[in-house]
């Protein structure tokens, strides 16, 4: 049931904006097509960059929404990503094996997920505090132990998917990517399927909406929360591994640069659904790519303003969508059986 509430002024404007989301997508698609016909190389570069920028965001959002769908707010995505990026980087430095490095990153994220679950489910701590603890911990540890001058053994390279990679525009953008990017695309659909079409997903959502109802039919509320938060942590770990092992190839202090928090915004904009989050992440990634391109393009607008574009877009979009999307009812609440 859609509950429509008429509100005056600015909110009415935003209301209209919501309806025009489909229109926005079409406008972007048309714009891309025209620009491709005029300048193919730049367009492909912008789209590839959009996908690259969106990858850590959508992974972070998947982490956030697995937690929140089961009733646990994860504000520590930033810290999970950063720590995983660092550990993955160290593993790469000392073993030289990228597969081991990625695994280490994922496990680091999962371990921090287990820590968050322990704090918020077992110790019954305030979940915001728990997440903040992880963020501060990760920033402190990685900055303290990071030494300059460590050399890595390369980074993950793009894999071309045969003839698909030769298709115009989308071939280069979609079918010529490194492995974590492919993995993230697959994960979006897997998480979506699990959450909405399987027994586990039904139980997870029930625990996030009404843990009492789940408990009285014999579902182990604590276990469901633990597992979801740990798997989410692993996915955030993959996002961290993406940064050091696939995108950059090395580590810098605080290199996540707020992506964990933007991922939360992406999750909300996507209405706590994986596909929605993907759309939101792509929009943000596209704005970032466009921003970079405009700065290179020598536009007369001061670069500070162009640099605001992705963030400005996030604010507008979040304000516009905030009223209608509804978080899981029991999110952030401690479950205390009678």
């Amino acid at each position: 049931m859609e509950k429509t509430i008429s509100r005056p002024g600015l909110s009415a404007l935003l209301e209209k904006l919501r309806g025009s989301r489909a229109l926005l997508v079409i406008a972007i698609a048309v714009g891309v097509l025209i620009s491709f016909l005029t300048n193919g190389d730049i367009t492909t570069a912008v789209l590839s960059s959009a996908l690259r920028q969106s990858t850590p965001l959508v992974l972070g959002a998947l982490c956030g929404l697995l937690g929140e769908r089961s009733g646990v707010i994860n504000i520590g995505i930033e810290g999970q990503m950063l720590m995983a990026a660092f550990m993955g980087f160290l593993a790469n430095v000392y073993t030289g094996n990228l597969i081991i490095a990625v695994t280490v990153g994922v496990l680091t994220g999962a371990l921090l997920g287990a820590l968050l679950a322990f704090m918020s489910v077992t110790l019954k701590m305030d979940q915001i505090i728990g997440g903040t603890v992880i963020n501060i911990l990760a920033l402190g540890l990685t900055s303290f132990f990071y030494q300059q001058g460590l050399t890595t053994h390369g980074k993950l390279q793009p894999i071309e998917l045969g003839p698909l990679a030769d298709l115009p525009v989308i071939g280069r953008v979609l079918f010529s990517n490194p492995p974590i990017t492919y993995a993230s695309l697959i994960l979006i659909f897997v998480v979506h399927y699990v959450l909405f079409y399987t027994r586990w997903g039904l139980r997870t959502r029930a625990v996030g909406e009404h843990p009492g109802a789940a408990d009285t039919v014999g579902i182990n509320v604590k276990m469901v929360r633990y597992i979801n938060v740990i798997i989410g942590g692993g996915i955030a770990g993959l996002a961290g591994a993406y940064l050091t092992l696939e995108a950059v190839g090395s580590f810098e202090r605080a290199m996540t640069n707020g992506r964990g928090f933007v991922a939360l915004a992406v999750m909300i904009f996507g209405k706590w659904t994986p596909l929605g989050a993907w759309g939101a992440a792509l929009l943000f990634g596209f704005a970032s790519a466009l921003q970079t391109q405009l700065q290179f393009g020598g536009s007369s607008i001061p670069h500070q303003f162009i640099g605001m574009l992705p963030y400005f877009l996030t604010i507008v979009v979040l304000a516009g969508v905030g009223g209608r999307s509804r978080p899981p009812a029991a999110v952030g609440k401690l479950y205390q059986p009678e």
Binding site: M1, I5, L202, A206, H210, G212, A213, V217, G218
Partner: protein, 512 residues
């Protein structure tokens, strides 16, 4: 139907909590296809007993036999596996999911990789609906359904798990009279088909209407078992409370004085800024009880909040004791001599984390003799609280016990004591006896009538028809934010009011 088969038997069940003997050697027998009413006041041990049958608590002593097999129920899981289903007083349904999803949750029909089979679940729900006459759309989303319908989903949930013994915990507390009648029809239908039902309640009328047998619980022990044919309301009430109870409030004729509260064309919006009270006008005289009847959620809460300064009204006038109020502030109202017994005693009535003594002075803490300068006078506060606790029969081990540790009835008595001790000229009482036991209800009703006889004007808002009819001098019926009828109490009937509350127009009743 062979009713002689015993499906459940409890022998000598005893359960102790620190300081309380909740169940004292309770024996209980339930036959196949039988509706057994478990009657008792709040705190009599009904819920404890049922929680043990549902595996949530474990008895300290005693045995539970299900279908002549001695069982140990360690968790609800065990109870469900033994064919016991429970419909909790607060529904355990996920509001944003469909009926079928809620029914199958925890016992899903699924295929490869846990893929849910919605269609099979929906069909199962439809079959159960048909078999037991529980009509409900399996694809409907719970939050769109009325309360009575949600309760059916809970019953289907139990039947889906093959429950043969159904425990209904205070199932009528949230229903309209019509919905209750519908529930009783369903209960009889279920019993007819061999389901055994334990029906927990403290409402005497319902027990006599629907039960096959009645067991009465008092202070943790079964004090008697009887049948509706052999019993009367008075006799049941006596068993339940342990003394004679005056069910019909003994009140003389009202002697109305001048108008103390006048409401004209009042309009109030709810939290979603929809008009919840529309153009409402009425008067309350001193020495008179005006009752507002209505199904919950028809604007009564908003009306009460507006009149007590907890919510702004958007249009209209309120005149209190001859003074026109432009904006009502709770403190100004209290100072003028109007008091409020709020609907939600936990949210608006008490500070649960405060002891009884501090709750007693919530309205007057800032003035003499409780406060001197900016210091509280503990001695006079404690003396005052001790006196009120005695006078209003608030049962508490001491005045330093937290309000949260009192039973609902005693919490409500605490509020009534605090407010009525101020000798108010106007009382706005919203659901003053909701969820209370017969003894407490009787006590509070007597206090309200005594206040009326002392010349106080009382606005009584209640969804409980019996309460409205027995207390009020004039009855107003509220439906969708409007007052749709005004009936002198002497002419009111349950049926007539029930129809008005359901939105059937007054003229239609007269014509019929």
């Amino acid at each position: 139907m062979d009713i002689s088969i015993v499906v459940l038997q409890a022998n000598g069940i005893t359960k102790r909590f620190p300081g309380v003997l909740a169940n004292d050697h309770v024996d209980l027998i339930l036959h196949r296809g039988e509706i057994l009413a478990l009657l008792g006041e709040n705190g009599a041990g009904k819920s404890t007993l049922m929680n043990m049958l549902y595996g949530l608590y474990h008895p300290d002593q005693g045995e539970i036999w299900i279908k002549s097999e001695l069982v140990r129920l360690r968790s609800p899981h065990d109870a469900i596996a033994r064919g016991i289903g429970m419909v909790h007083q607060h529904f355990q349904l996920v509001p944003v999911m469909t009926v079928a999803e809620n029914v199958m949750l925890g016992a899903e029909i699924s295929g490869f990789g846990g893929r849910l089979n919605h269609r099979a679940a929906e069909q199962r729900v439809r079959n159960l609906s048909q078999q037991f006459g529980l009509e409900v759309d399996p694809t409907a989303v719970i939050e769109d359904l009325p309360v009575g319908m949600q309760q059916r989903v809970e019953i289907i949930k139990a039947l889906y798990r093959n429950a043969e013994i159904l425990i209904l915990d205070e199932p009528t507390a949230v229903l309209t009279p019509q919905e209750s009648d519908e529930l009783f029809r369903i209960m009889r239908e279920l019993a007819q088909q061999g389901v055994s039902i334990i029906f927990i309640t403290h409402k005497l009328r319902e027990v006599l209407e629907v039960a096959d047998r009645i067991s009465v619980l008092r202070r943790g022990a079964v004090v008697g078992t009887t049948t509706p044919a052999e019993s009367t309301r008075e006799a049941l009430a006596r068993m339940m409370v342990g003394r004679d109870v005056i069910l019909q409030i003994d009140k003389g004729k009202a002697r109305p004085q001048e108008v103390v509260l006048r409401v004209e064309n009042l309009a109030v919006e709810d939290d979603r800024r929809q008009l919840a009270v529309k153009n409402v006008s009425f008067e309350v005289n001193g020495g008179q009880i005006v009752g507002i009847a209505g199904v919950q959620g028809n604007g009564q809460s908003e009306l009460a909040e507006a009149l007590t300064g907890l919510r702004r009204y958007t249009a209209g006038h309120v005149t209190l004791l001859g003074e026109t109020m432009n904006a009502i502030s709770p403190r100004r109202m209290v100072n003028m001599g109007a008091v409020h017994i709020p609907e939600d005693r936990h949210k608006h009535g008490l500070v649960l984390g405060y002891p009884v003594v501090d709750n007693m002075i919530l309205t007057d803490y800032y003035r003499a003799p409780f406060s001197r300068g900016f210091l509280l006078d503990r001695a006079s506060i404690q003396a005052y609280a001790e006196r009120l606790v005695r006078q209003y029969d608030v049962r508490t081990p001491s005045i330093f016990v937290l309000a949260s540790q009192l039973s609902g009835g005693n919490q409500q008595k605490l509020i009534v004591a605090r407010e009525l001790a101020r000798k108010p000229k106007v009382i706005i009482a919203n659901q003053p006896t909701r969820g209370l036991d017969v003894g407490s209800i009787e006590f509070i009703h007597r206090q309200i009538v005594a206040a009326r006889d002392g010349g106080t004007g009382i606005l009584l808002i209640s969804a409980e028809l019996d309460e409205i009819i027995s207390l009020s001098d004039t009855i107003l019926v509220m439906y969708r934010g409007q007052l749709v009828a005004s009936v002198p109490a002497a002419e009111a009937t349950r049926e007539g009011l029930g129809l008005l509350m359901a939105g059937v127009h007054a003229d239609a009743i007269e014509r019929a």
